[in-house]
Amino acid sequence: MAYLAHLGILISIFVMLSMSLNLVVGYTGLLSVTHVAFFGIGAYATAILLTMTDIGFFTSVVVGIIAALTSSFLIGLILSKFDDDFYALASLGFNIIVFSIFLNLQSVTGGPFGISGIDRPELFGFIFTSNVSFLALTLIALVALYFLSHFIVNSSFGRVIKAIRDDEKALQIFGYRTHYYKLTIFMISAGMAAVAGSFFASYITFIDPSSFAATESVFILSMVILGGLADNKGAALGAATIILLPEFLRFVGMPSDIAAQMRQVIYGLLLIVLMIYRPQGFLGKYRL
């Protein structure tokens, strides 16, 4: 049961990530390769606040969101100028810069050794120690984020970002300041990633920079593309598939280090085959 809860928590956290990235990649059509930077900002905010101060988990989530919003605002100002492959490249550059801050700002982030001993959340004296209770908390956050993003993409704002994806020029001619829309959706997505990061730090109780390297952004991106661009259920399906894949390989009896590599082989091949035969992913509505 604890094992199933463990998988459930991991899947929920990564669904939060893929769903929030889908807002930018799937709905707005911007290939952002920097998502784990904000995931990391949330995770480090929670880790630092919970180990060094005694403010609770939930306050640290808010601080993480604010930190992610601020940093995504600053980099978003630059990114919103680009589209297509230059957007991908510039965002990747930002991910690498953030990663090197996590890695090298030793006094704050603990450098390559990371931060350990992060507490589980506590609410009115109840501590979410068991996996099942933590899963319940994570699911609540996931459902909240799901409805938030559902609301966003179905609002008038959501129609504008989808229109940016389909034809940004035309929208500019109608007088929309598309840069502001691109910036806003990028910040919302970053804030949601920070929430996922806080849960991740508190659940694993130990974080180090390796979880937030640029290749991990590619990993999240492949979840979105696999499951389906511009479809929230697709993003969830993609995240679940990629998280469960190594567990499945382990059941088949593959040694764990080979299984880790095999997972990459499989999802790499999936990406290639999907791009050739089905560029919108399993459930997607938008072709990359």
């Binding site: 492959d85 991908a88 290749t215 990406l271 050739i276």
Partner: protein
Amino acid sequence: MDIFIQLTLNGLIAGSIYALVALGFNLSYGTMRFFDLGYSALIAVGGYTVFFLSRQIGLPLPISILIGTIMAGIAGYIIYLLVYVPLRKRKASNMALLVASLGIFTVIQAVIGIFFSSQFRTLSGPVDAERIFHVFGGSITRIQVIILGTSIVVMFALAIIFRFTTFGKSIRAIGDSEEVSKIVGINTSRIIGYVLFIGSAIAGLVGILVGFDTGITPTMGFSLLLKGVVASIIGGVGNVYGGVVGALFLGLIENYGIWHISTEWKDAIAFGLLILFLYFRPQGIFRK
């Protein structure tokens, strides 16, 4: 003063590695017009082929190096036939090509990891009696001299091919417009195939050189490629000579940068530079 000379030397050596990567990358970008991140896997293919042939089978070094270079070229050509040709036939967008190329990188590095483990290896022998030369008070190893020499030779060879051969002219024609090149009777897909073979062989050579200078890991190519891309953007993407100048500029900036800041920030400096350039001068130094 000594430290200034040493940093200049280090900058030039790093710059010439980046220049080789940028050359190969620009060859593929110049003809196919997308960011081919799969190119980075071929760097590791070159390095690991030499590792396998010379250190595990015991072939003489020059032969292994030759085979390693050709292997990377062939691998690049096969990838082109299996992945890029079908994608281009389906008129896939740049982003779809970019995602597929990420898939290629993921697959190849994982396969290498399965066969050779992802540990750090070095190509040079344990006590290879690495000769050290002294130039103006700075020191430089033999392999670094070879790196400088190789990049100069490759640059001139490519310049001659570009300027004086029909093949070079067709490459430039395809870079200007693939459609028109087809109309005037250039077999574009064959030429692009050759170009990718040459570009990939250069990537293999980079992997081998870096393997002798520092060492090899399955993911070694990714950061090298990113540096090459940064160099190309600084010089003007698709512009072969610009890439070389950009690479030397990047190598020098990185190394002068760590004069006052510690070494770990090299990557942050490089990608900070990338974002600055993308923002203020996305066409690079040379394009108008």
